[in-house]
């Protein structure tokens, strides 16, 4: 076990090591280089396609945040300001007034305001909305579909894979460019 014997052994090992290191470096470089060549720097964020959404309620509970980053939004341009709003009133509401017994939203997040008889404005109080989509279902089934769910980007932390997207039965989540982060329903 002399010094002379040790020396070549170590250098051989070092040689192999640096060889492998070079190979690994080349591998990582090739993979990332190839991907970089394809990557466009444009950032993307998660969003719900309202045309696909079925208002199943998963958005309210599958988000990694609580309350969910998904909220109901209202496309006022689509809204008909109905007196009997099916997103506001329970289907079997006894009356068409703002009493709690008539309201559809379980968290009372929709506010009603008279514009001009018989037109009423309905606004979402986002502090209260939990994104359950109940009003979305009502408005979609009987109304204009002016209420729909969207990921609010002041809340969303843009997970690598959105937990709601993984649980969405309608495949309604997709990544959209960050400079156009909303898929709002518009007048067709």
């Amino acid at each position: 076990m002399s010094e002379q014997k040790e020396q070549p052994d170590l250098t051989r090992r070092d040689f192999i090591r640096s060889g492998v290191r070079g190979a690994l470096l080349a591998g990582v470089g090739a993979a990332t280089g190839g991907l970089l060549a394809r990557s466009r720097s444009g950032d993307t964020v998660w969003q719900i396609d309202p045309e696909k959404c079925i208002a199943c309620g998963n958005c309210a509970t599958y988000c990694v945040l609580k309350p969910s980053a998904v909220k109901c939004v209202h496309a006022f341009g689509l809204c008909e300001y109905c007196e009997k709003c099916f997103g506001y009133f329970d289907l079997d509401a006894p009356d068409v007034e703002t009493g709690a017994e008539n309201q559809l939203c379980p968290t009372g997040a929709i506010k009603r305001r008279l514009v001009r008889e018989p037109q009423y404005e309905y606004k979402i109080d986002e502090q209260l909305c939990i994104g359950c989509g109940k009003c979305v279902a009502g408005c979609g089934q009987f109304g204009m579909g002016a209420l729909f769910l969207q990921v609010r980007h002041d809340l969303c932390i843009n997970c690598n894979e959105c937990a709601i997207a993984a649980a969405c039965p309608a495949d309604a989540f997709r990544r959209v460019p960050a400079d156009k982060p909303y898929l709002l329903k518009k007048k067709q």
Binding site: T61, P67, P94, G99, A100, E101, T107
Partner: protein, 577 residues
């Protein structure tokens, strides 16, 4: 070393940690209790509240019930927000507690941290060997655990596949307006009398000798199911014909190489198609008009006004009925095309009845693009589309007008009054001149660059010798030939209108003559084809017999002639089978 100082710090840290830990446990318990108490996020899921609402359904006008619901709603929400606020406050307290706990525990551990003296080394070598063995065995055991887990997984999950079936591919509709180029048209025989309807073959390598009885020179022969006087139309390797009887109409597509009937389609289910059969003469039949093809689709019209379009695969694209033509021989004007427009000359009724018109339809959809009424009574002559005077023109013959239209919008370009009677021969265009002819009228040479009524200004010459009543003229630009039904062939000088020669062939003709290079093919009703020189003197080159009656003008393609006899479709070719 300051032992006592460390000790005090240690004890303080431990005490702090214990307090923080207890605090954390209490807060945590409170939070968990709160979490399960408020249950998910549903303030209204209280049974009492639901029952109250259900009751309200039964008594919708009970004001007291209503106020009860509202009160309870308010209460539940207040409770919900209180619980939420509790949760948030508790969360912060817990976080603070954990931080204090961590810091104090860290401090306590830090105080007690001493670099411990190593334990006495036992039999290091043995320990090392044993460690290696242990490691090996534990890794092997873990590998086995994975193996076992995977095996178990294969047993508990079904591996059933998915049913498969043949995928149905729906071809996308082509929306691009496509029409064949002049060059493509020139290579085919897309309409009555070939490219441009001029009766001129683009190929000169066609056979000159055949015999229908012995089969000599006949590449194939295929029976045509229903009778018809229309001529074969050839595009690529497809030949189109129609056939009809009083109450049945069909369109056929044959393979040009084998003669196989690729498809045959009944023309039924046409909106407004009249059940009553039209009046026709036996000379004309129910399927006199010739098909037109544009490389993608074939169009056919029948004596009862049914107009139909198929693609080359035999898929019906559209159909319509133009109304039962009022026409004493039966409708027999063939179709024409310009670019994507299908041109239907639909002359009917008596003089001054105003029933005649010319219609242009979009070939793909059958949608009408334009239509123009025509100031003529019924006629049989087919239109041609020419390029003359720097513009595209549709040339039509009627009694008494020869009218030229702009094919793009149907605007009338010029008209000349020179015909009379039941006009059947088609106009031709040769040597810069339009020639229109009918028996009992004249042969007129008209310069096609006029505007408005050009009767007085643009008719170069007229002549009256040997005027035909069925067969259309043919011209190479220098000479022009007229074939009269009873066999009188007249040759004119196309420039001057002087008769050059006249020859009585002593045969009956319905098919129009076709110019093939320097020769003219004349096919008589009895099936005999006479081939003469297209020259200033009459000279017969050959005479050959098909042995079956022929009413339709043959189609000439590369090395082949297609002749429709009364019952069959023949392909004549020098190339032996």
């Amino acid at each position: 070393m300051n032992a006592s100082g460390t000790d005090i710090r240690y004890r303080a840290s431990v005490a702090c940690a214990v307090v923080a830990g207890a605090f954390c446990v209490i807060v945590c318990a409170g939070l968990i209790q709160n979490y399960f108490h408020s249950d998910v996020s549903d303030p209204l899921d209280s049974e009492q509240f639901v029952a109250l609402k259900a009751k309200l359904q039964a008594y919708p006008d009970d004001e007291q019930l209503k106020s009860e619901v509202r009160r309870m709603d308010l209460e539940l929400r207040r409770e919900y927000f209180r619980s939420q606020a509790f949760g948030v406050r508790g969360g912060w307290l817990l976080l603070g507690g954990i931080v204090v706990l961590l810091v104090s525990v860290g401090a306590a551990v830090g105080c007690r941290k001493t670099i411990s003296a190593p334990a006495p080394a036992g039999d290091q070598e043995l320990a090392e060997v044993r460690a290696g063995t242990f490691a090996r065995w534990s890794v092997a055991a873990m590998g086995l655990v994975i193996l076992g887990g995977a095996t178990a997984l294969t047993f508990i999950t079904p591996t059933e596949g998915f049913p498969t079936a043949i995928k149905h591919v729906e071809k996308p509709p082509s929306l691009v307006v496509h029409f064949p180029s002049d060059e493509e048209i020139g290579r085919n025989w897309p309409r009555f009398r070939g490219p441009g309807g001029l009766g001129i073959s683009a190929y000169t390598n066609v056979p000159a000798n055949w015999n229908g009885k012995t089969g000599e020179g006949i590449l194939w022969k295929t029976p045509v199911p229903l009778p018809g006087k229309n001529s074969p139309v050839v595009w690529g390797n497809r030949i189109f014909l129609t056939g009809a009887t009083k109450d049945k109409r069909q369109v056929y597509c044959f393979d040009a190489d084998s003669g196989e009937l690729l498809w045959q389609r009944d023309v039924t289910n046409v909106p407004g198609s009249v059940a009553k059969p039209p009046v026709v003469m036996e000379d004309t039949g129910y399927a006199a008009p010739t098909v037109v093809a544009d490389g993608q689709r074939a169009y056919a019209i029948f004596a009862n006004g049914d107009l139909i379009c198929f693609d080359f695969a035999g898929e019906r694209l559209w159909a319509m009925n133009l109304g039962l033509p009022v026409n004493m021989y039966g409708h027999s004007t063939s179709l024409a095309m310009w670019r994507n427009l299908l041109l239907v000359k639909f002359d009917q009724g008596g003089e001054g009845e105003g029933k005649s018109e010319i219609i242009a339809l979009d070939g793909l959809t059958g949608r009408e693009v334009w239509s123009k009424p025509r100031p003529v009574p019924e006629s049989w002559s087919s239109p041609i589309v020419i390029n003359a005077g720097g513009r595209a023109q549709i040339i039509t013959c009627g009694n008494p007008w020869v009218i030229s239209y702009n094919p793009a919008d149907g605007a009338e370009l010029w008209r000349a009054k020179c015909l009379d009677g039941d006009v059947a021969p088609c106009p031709i265009f040769a040597g810069g001149m339009v020639f229109a002819v009918n028996t009992v009228a004249v042969l007129a040479a008209i310069k096609p660059d006029g505007v408005g009524d050009v009767t007085k200004t643009h008719i170069a010459w007229t002549a009256i010798d040997g005027l035909p009543d069925i067969c259309s003229p043919v011209s190479d630009g220098k000479l022009l030939w007229l074939m009269e039904t009873y066999g009188t062939l007249t040759c004119y000088d196309a420039q001057t209108g002087k008769t050059v020669w006249e020859k009585d062939l002593d045969m009956e003709f319905n098919a129009s003559p076709v110019l093939v290079g320097e020769q003219i093919y004349l096919t008589g009703i009895d099936g005999v084809t006479i081939i003469i020189e297209a020259a200033r003197e009459y000279k017969e080159i050959a005479r050959t017999d098909l042995g079956e009656k022929v009413y339709a003008t043959p189609a000439f393609m590369d090395g082949r002639i297609y002749i429709r006899s009364e019952k069959n479709l023949f392909c004549i070719s020098d190339a032996k089978r």
